[in-house]
């Protein structure tokens, strides 16, 4: 048990790669759904039919592949660190998504949002520190 619950740089990189893959997956799902946007969804059966028509879409399968890879990486991470560490550190996407929207779609980042990004960053650093510190004190 002594080596468990330690947040190393490698695990941090894996956690960030999950955020990136999550973005890829969402992008693929949106792309595949847009191809069939003319279908109207009014009932549960319509929703099933909608998913059925999406089956030939390559984007859908690319998205599903991303989800499977995310699950493999996430399980591996959880075999090494505490759940209460992995989950908050994985909140990076709340920082990257506004930054990417600002960079590529020229969206404005409000003062409040910058403050929020700062809070998340401080939080992630504190949680990471709490995990490393625990290891040293043993």
């Amino acid at each position: 048990m002594p080596k468990k619950s330690r947040l190393t740089f490698k695990i941090l990189c894996f956690l960030i790669s999950i955020d990136l893959l999550e973005t890829v997956a969402q992008f693929c799902f949106k792309k595949s759904a847009l191809g069939y946007a003319q279908l109207e969804i009014k009932s549960f059966l319509d929703a099933i039919h909608f998913v059925q028509t999406m089956i030939p879409s390559a984007y859908l399968w690319l998205g599903l592949l991303s989800v499977i890879v995310i699950f493999i990486i996430w399980s591996t991470i959880l075999s090494k660190v505490d759940l209460s560490v992995a989950v908050p550190v994985c909140s990076f996407s709340y920082i990257t998504v506004p930054l990417v929207s600002a960079l590529f779609f020229h969206e404005k980042i409000s003062f409040l949002r910058w403050g929020g990004i700062g809070f998340i960053l401080i939080g992630v650093i504190l949680v990471s520190m709490s995990s490393v510190h625990k290891e040293e004190s043993r």
């Binding site: 399980s75 959880l78 989950v87 908050p88 809070f119 960053l121 939080g123 949680v127 520190m129 709490s130």
Partner: protein
């Protein structure tokens, strides 16, 4: 209107609770397997063992329910409001980690989690 808001808050709490249960089941299954993964081959073998656990499938079920409720919430409430409140999942997961998984969460980690929650609420509202 007030009634509606309380229903929405309750539903958001429900998605987060389902998500928390799903994560707990996954983490618990991983803890009971107790493996050391250091290569991709070992990781794949580990995940193949993991998906044979009924608890993990139970977790997938909770994830699906969570997604369904979340999609319903999004049809009723504005995205920024829903997203801000959704950050309560971090507190739920931390609490559940302490109570169910017996993880030790010290003051620094609690402070960090609180900071993340405040940050997400601000990003979503801004």
């Amino acid at each position: 209107m007030i009634y509606g808001i309380f229903v929405i808050i309750g539903l958001i709490a429900l998605t987060d609770a389902c998500d928390t249960i799903s994560q707990l089941l996954l983490k618990h299954s991983i803890n009971t397997l107790d493996v050391h993964v250091d290569t991709i081959r070992k990781a794949l073998r580990f995940v193949l063992r993991l998906v044979r656990s009924p608890l993990v499938w139970c977790g997938f079920l909770f994830s699906t329910v969570s997604l369904g409720v979340w999609l319903f919430v999004l049809t009723k409430a504005p995205l920024n409001f829903a997203y801000s409140l959704d950050s309560m999942r971090y507190v739920m997961i931390a609490l559940a980690s302490v109570v169910v998984l017996k993880e030790k969460v010290g003051a620094v980690r609690w402070l960090g989690i609180l900071s993340v929650v405040i940050g997400i609420a601000m990003v979503a509202a801004g």
